[in-house]
């Protein structure tokens, strides 16, 4: 039962860099695009935008709450501000501003979190964002995106700019494998089926998508037919793709680089419970903060690699079959 599609998974650029480059492209096309940053422009790659459009770049200093307020003010008269910082600072320090001055009035602000998850690595838990999907999804009206590679990021940054309303985009620090061909189409709210399969579905986003593909390949060698869905949009969820996965495969694994009890998985579970209850397993960070270390070592230690996903898929399949 060979996989229909083979993935090379060659290392590409970090999704944060893809964001910075995409923002420059958008800036050339639309004079209303702006960037605001909180003293991390080289890390968030908004420095590329600042270099080409200095008059449309606002450096707010180390002051994330103020930055989001400034972005909301800019959006209130027709600008399309992209506010970028590490996810941990942006979502946690500016959450009140995101709630009252962005989400509540529904202003057209784009929030880009970089260095998300534990894959920021050596800087350690104070800089690791493991709860921002939960926080962003709790804001009514927000679109929440978690692209898997540079192609997805470029397309979804563009989609975010075209969407009228608040958007959160989750990007990461490390370079990640390229999954998509450059002409792949992306639509907010529309999951992408990367691998066809019928025994179990693995849903993932961010850097976990590549791990999900690797898990599917390993399971395929064992004769298990795995469907892989890229849930690049966490909000609004692709309920139709989720319903089909529940009905057709009867077992779902959700894999995410996020606290397991408050992220994509629980949102999928809610949709599954509403539409077509089936066996589910969850791969994510288990009720803990991580620690400093090389990203690869941390992903392994905290259970976020392909073997962990494959084990969860086998477990889900066994439960489905009543064993």
């Amino acid at each position: 039962m060979p996989l229909k599609t083979r993935y090379e998974l060659n290392l590409g650029m970090a999704t944060r860099e893809a964001f910075g480059r995409a923002l420059v492209e958008l800036g050339r096309e639309n004079p209303n695009i702006m960037a605001v940053d909180a003293d991390l422009s080289k890390s968030t790659f908004t420095h590329l935008f600042a270099k080409e459009f200095p008059e449309r770049f606002v450096s707010c200093g180390i002051a994330e709450a103020n930055m989001v307020g400034v972005a909301a003010g800019l959006a209130s008269h027709g600008k399309i501000p992209f506010a970028a910082s590490f996810s941990c600072f942006l979502l946690n320090k500016a959450f009140e501003q995101l709630r009252v001055t962005v989400a509540y009035p529904g202003l057209n602000v784009k929030i880009v979190g970089t260095h998300s998850g534990i894959s920021i690595g050596e800087d350690g838990p104070s800089q690791m964002s493991v709860e921002e999907i939960s926080l962003a999804c709790s804001l009514p009206g927000f679109v929440v995106l978690a692209p898997a590679d540079e192609v997805a990021t470029r397309a979804l940054v563009r989609a975010a700019a075209e969407h009228v309303g608040p958007v959160f985009i989750r990007t990461g620090r490390p370079r990640v494998p390229v999954i998509y061909s450059p002409d792949q189409r992306f639509e907010i709210g529309k999951a992408i089926e990367l691998v066809e399969g019928s025994d179990v579905t693995i849903m993932a986003n961010g850097l976990m998508v590549a791990e999900a593909i690797r898990a599917a390949e390993a399971l395929d060698a064992e004769g298990i037919s795995v469907r892989v869905l890229d849930l690049h949009t966490v909000k609004p969820l692709d309920r139709e793709a989720i319903r089909k996965a529940a009905e057709e495969t009867g077992a779902i694994v959700v894999a995410e680089e996020h606290l397991v009890d408050s992220g994509t998985g629980v949102r999928v579970a809610q949709a599954v419970a509403e539409m077509h209850p089936c066996v589910m397993e969850f791969v994510g960070i288990q009720n803990t903060y991580a620690e400093s270390g090389p990203p690869e070592a941390l992903l392994e230690k905290y259970g976020l690699t392909a073997p962990h996903i494959a084990a969860a898929a086998r477990k889900a399949l066994a439960r489905k079959r009543g064993r």
């Binding site: 003293d39 707010c60 200093g61 180390i62 050596e122 350690g124 838990p125 104070s126 800089q127």
Partner: protein
């Protein structure tokens, strides 16, 4: 410590700590050298001359507290703690690795001698205000020291904490601002200016001193003065040089968090105070 004030001895210790900082960050492959080197003279003074502490009893309840609110400069603190005997120097070579007690930013649960977990700018200082308030409520006489960076003054919570400390007349609280005038993206004056720092703190009701943060005589005088109760919290604005001691790093914002190899570290160590600088 109650030893005689000996600036030459302190300068020698600070030089040793600089060597440890450079080797530690090189070995870890990442970290924040510039701000660690600007802060290390004051940290040396505090840990080797001033603080009432006992490395044998890191949780001694009457000890002075030190909160490194600019938590990214943990290597300077770790070097001092190791040299003071809080933990073996071998731990320094595990910095930022999986399983290490030395996290990228200070962790009060993992590292003996760390009084508060920090790493998100502004937050540590607010905690220091709470510690100082708690000390007074419990009738304790220890003092609370907090080290902030100049760019940390851009965070709103810094000023919320400053207002609260002055309102509660916390003269057991001593803030030190490591004013190295650089931040990640460039010079602080070009990102969002924070000067005149002294006038701002005076207006907020603090007892303000301004010193050269690399001159042990001035450092000593300022901290001695800050021990005198004045009914107001104390702030020492220490004018410093980012990357101080390594000539090719000095006053260059790009050394905020730029990595370097162990071989480069040895070159930097060779540069330490070449040309007779303090």
């Amino acid at each position: 410590m109650t030893s005689e004030f000996d600036p030459a001895r302190l300068a020698a210790i600070a030089r040793d700590l600089r060597v440890l900082i450079l080797r530690m960050i090189a070995n870890a492959g990442s970290g924040h050298p510039g701000g660690s080197l600007s802060a290390v003279d004051i940290i040396t003074y505090l840990y080797f001359r001033h603080l009432r502490i006992d490395p044998e009893r890191p949780h001694w309840e009457d000890r002075d507290r030190f909160v490194l609110s600019k938590g990214h400069c943990a290597p300077a603190l770790y070097a001092a703690l190791a040299r003071r005997g809080y933990f073996p120097e071998a731990w320094l070579w595990t910095l930022r690795d999986v399983g290490s007690p030395l996290q990228g930013h200070p962790d009060m649960r993992k590292t003996p001698g760390v009084d508060m977990t920090t790493g998100s700018l502004g937050q540590g200082f607010a905690c220091a205000v709470g510690i100082a308030l708690g000390a007074r409520l419990q009738g304790k006489t220890y003092r609370v020291y907090a080290m902030l960076s100049d760019a940390e003054l851009q965070e709103g919570v810094t000023w919320e904490a400053a207002l609260a400390a002055a309102h509660h007349r916390l003269d057991n609280l001593i803030a030190v601002i490591d004013n190295n005038r650089c931040q990640t993206d460039g010079f602080t004056a070009d990102i969002v200016a924070v000067e005149p720092i002294d006038e701002k703190w005076s207006a907020f009701g603090w007892d303000v001193q301004r010193i050269d943060g690399h001159d042990f005589v001035q450092i000593h005088a300022a901290f001695q003065r800050a021990l005198q109760p004045r009914g107001r919290p104390h702030v020492i604005i220490a004018d410093t040089v980012k990357g101080k001691g390594v000539r090719s790093m000095e006053n260059r914002p790009e050394w905020h968090a730029q990595p370097f190899t162990p071989e480069q570290a040895e070159v930097f160590i060779g540069e330490l105070f070449e040309g007779g600088s303090s």
